[in-house]
Amino acid sequence: MNPDSTSRPISFSFLVQIILIANSFIMLYPVVVMVFSAFKGTAEIFEHPFAVPDFTQVQNFSRVLGETSMPTYFVNSIVVTGISIVLIIVLGTMAGYAIARYESRTNTFILLFFLAGLMLPLKLAVIPLFILLRDLGLLDTRWSLIVTYTAIGLPSAVFIMAGFLRSLPSELEDAARIDGASEPRIMWSVMLPLALPPMAIAAIQNAVPIWNDFFFPLVFIQTDAYKTLPQGLTTFMGEFTTDWGMLFAGLTIAAAPITLLYIALSRQFIQGMTAGAVK
């Protein structure tokens, strides 16, 4: 042992602190500046970019909410994300339940079928999807996004639900079956009430990418009234290019709901968003 070894851990943990604080600063400061700038006029942003603003100056926010289509984009995002998540959970639970609870020769095939869906990036099939949606009359409607997101999210929900439902003991089912409960009744009243946590994981895992998606609206949606937030944001940013106060207010409003939700539910968010990568 050299004489240095007693002092080394202290300086080392000091270094760890420096790196972590610097990193968190880099992660958070841009977000803080975005919010600060939203309370400033353009001239003030240019002259005092780092200054703390007067938080009573909310003109930018009232203009974004009152004079632009931002509220419409907002509602569209909520509708599209909400319906997609409900469809993903319902269809995913149906398939996952059948795979997990009923022995069948076709189960492996069905699981592989959904596994393939998990691996294939649907982005690259956007041309045929575009033509299919046009033929179905869904192009340039919110449904074009809902069916696409459901198709993308369904495989992961099937896996999460099947994995969880398989782990439930069969005694539960058998007891209900002896009592004469029908299969739908067993599923609905006995098994599914236990499966709410994995449903929440599957919902968060899919809701964040759906809420944030930009590519499919860009291709499918032309009408301003059907645009979701990320796509609407590009329209908005193009309209107000020189009004930086408005730009930052728009970005802040777009970022606020998911950021606040994340701060309130950070554990669930981290768990849900990394569910595919952490076993």
Partner: protein, 310 residues
């Protein structure tokens, strides 16, 4: 024909199972399987706008890979995807690994730092792209303003307008957005290492570096496999950050052009030249797809074998 109670029960059971599995499978077949299979077929046809024309064999593939107008653009974009992949493997995944190791030690405030590093991950790429575009503005952007106020004004640059820095700026914006993801995944991987292994190594007087290199890194190999595969797929699908920060043409002068932008321009046209070519677009998508599938499976197999060896 009389139906026995047993038969009736099996029939009812079969109907119930079919009710559960048929709708999800039908949905996937219509909106995933059918489009992906058609994507391959479309590449072999000539297209006039939205109408399918003659069967042209491999002509579209030939134009994309070797044609005078498409090929230089495609290969230029491909080289940028490769650069982004390599840079992000080092900055994003490598940086994430180091951050995870620091958080794993559970120093003072580690819960706060873990939440902080994941904040940008939940934001939309569009928000991240616009935010950094404003910060990198040559005259009024936060980055150059900070350099001036620190007396480093000579370093200020039009970051997104200078061909030598534009791609790098996009890569750094992407790393800022996503570094929290590998951090959290690696952290979970490290927390699964039995603590007695690490404590035993510490008692043996193993240095920090040796511990990291010989014990932690090999034991988080499953996380590495999945993170590198995801990054690989992400890097060759890269679209939003370049689209928002550099525009549909990969300005300046194609220095930030990537395959995703080339595909979008080819298939859906752009403002300056609204030509749509679904044939060549499908051919390019098919090639990107095959490239990702072949290399991602090779990469996964290689990393899996590495997991066992380590």
């Amino acid at each position: 024909m009389p139906v026995s109670p047993h038969q009736a029960r099996t029939l009812r059971h079969r109907t119930w199972v079919a009710f559960l599995v048929v709708p999800p499978i039908a949905f996937m077949s219509l909106f995933v399987v059918y489009p992906i299979l058609s994507a391959f077929a479309y590449a072999f046809y000539e297209w006039r706008g939205l109408a399918r024309g003659e069967f042209v064999g491999l002509a579209n593939f030939n134009e994309v890979l070797f044609g005078a107008t498409m090929a230089p653009v495609v290969w230029n974009a491909f080289s940028h995807n490769v650069q982004a992949l390599i840079a992000l493997m080092i900055i994003q995944n490598g940086g994430g690994f180091l951050l995870a190791w620091l958080l794993y030690k559970e120093p003072f405030g580690f819960r706060f730092h873990r939440v902080a590093v994941f904040v940008p991950v939940v934001l939309s790429t569009i928000i991240v792209g616009f935010l950094w575009k404003l910060f990198l503005n040559p005259n009024f952007g936060l980055v150059n303003q900070a350099l001036f106020s620190l007396g480093l004004g000579s370093l200020a640059k039009p970051w997104l307008g200078d061909p030598s820095t534009a791609l790098g700026a996009l890569i750094l914006a992407n790393a800022w957005h996503f570094i929290g993801f590998p951090t959290v995944v690696y952290l979970a991987g490290m927390q699964r290492i039995p603590t007695d292994i690490i404590e035993a190594a510490r008692l043996d007087g193993t240095s920090e570096w040796q511990l990291l290199k010989n014990i932690v890194w090999p034991l988080v190999a499953p996380s590495t496999t999945i993170l590198f595969t995801l990054l690989f797929i992400g890097a060759f699908n890269w679209f939003e950050i370049p689209y928002v920060m550099a525009g549909l043409d990969g300005s300046p002068f194609g220095n930030t052009d990537v395959l995703g932008l080339v595909f979008y321009r080819t298939a859906f046209g752009n403002q300056s030249a609204s030509i749509q070519n679904f044939g060549q677009g499908s051919a390019l998508a098919t090639l990107i797809f095959l490239f990702i599938v072949v290399f991602a499976s090779m990469l996964t197999l290689w990393l899996r074998r590495r997991e066992i060896q380590l």
